[in-house]
């Protein structure tokens, strides 16, 4: 395992998609390479922050009523 390969498989690592023998190699590499450890920590946290920093948004009840009214009007004109 080298630094370039370690970075390239980060997505599979975060998804738990790596076979156990590769996983061991990644862990061994991260234990011995400070730069990759920093890269891994900040890469993983970027993914976490992307999710955490988005405000959850859902359709408010009045918006849902507008949507239904709009769609059923369209549905009736299509008939």
């Amino acid at each position: 395992m080298n630094c370039k390969k370690c970075a390239a498989i980060m997505e599979d690592y975060l998804e738990n998609n790596l076979p156990s023998e590769i996983l061991i190699e990644v862990h061994q590499h991260l234990d011995s390479c400070d730069q990759c450890k920093i890269f891994f920590n900040t890469y993983r946290l970027t993914v976490t922050l992307s999710r955490k920093m988005q405000e959850p948004c859902c359709v408010a009840p009045d918006m849902m009523e507008r949507l239904k009214a709009f769609l059923f009007e369209r549905l009736n004109t299509e008939k």
Partner: protein, 201 residues
């Protein structure tokens, strides 16, 4: 004894909508309106646009559902329609920015500052949230859609690939490059909190 209500699959609902069943349409709207609105909002970051896009998406559903060959692909088809409508809005508003910097992003591990150990009040501050949002908004359209679908909406790579008509390696590649750009933006911002080496004595 309470009987458990059997959940009707999307594919069955879609089949019924094709036959003109408005109750099934209502159920699909109930199931997917939040998802469509959320994706449209996170791509456009505009609540009015997201509502308009959501209406447009469900109108497209009514008018084009008969052309959907595989009913089981309904959800990813809906995400595709949502993404395309959002692109349409962003193009009209000219909200896609310069992509040149994307070409220079490499898998570089020359970073010397580990900002992952910063306290939450810095990591989750309003300012860093603004930095991250700006960085997402600066991504080229396909990369932006892939990052939002995966890291914000939590879709699987397979679903994104189907929705975006990309191969799974292409999804992974755009996701990785997009994340590198976001990480770089955050690293630049958080670097102001780095302690100079040996400076704390």
């Amino acid at each position: 004894m309470v009987k458990s209500k059997k959940v009707i699959s999307d594919a069955t609902l879609v089949q019924r909508i094709k036959l003109g069943d408005s109750t099934s349409l209502e159920e699909i709207v109930r199931r997917y309106s939040d998802k469509v609105y959320s994706l449209a909002y996170h791509l456009t970051r505009d609540t009015s646009a997201a509502e308009e896009i959501m209406q447009e998406v469900f109108v497209t559903l009514i008018s084009k559902i008969s052309s959907l060959e595989k009913n089981s692909y309904f959800a990813t088809w809906l995400y595709r329609v949502t993404t395309n409508a959002s692109y349409g809005f962003l193009r009209k508003e000219k909200k896609f920015t310069d992509k040149a910097h994307v070409e220079h992003i490499e898998d570089e591990q020359t970073l010397s500052y580990d900002w992952s150990s910063l306290p939450d009040d810095i990591l989750l501050s309003e300012e860093s949230s603004t930095i991250l949002h700006k960085a997402i908004d600066s991504l080229p359209e396909t990369m932006r859609a892939v990052v939002v679908m995966k890291d914000v909406e939590g879709l699987k790579n397979e679903e994104i690939a189907q929705a975006m008509d990309l191969s799974i390696p292409a999804v992974k590649s755009r996701l990785h490059r997009g994340r590198l750009i976001l990480r770089q933006a955050l690293s630049d911002y958080y670097s102001k909190y780095a302690q100079p080496e040996g400076g704390s004595a």
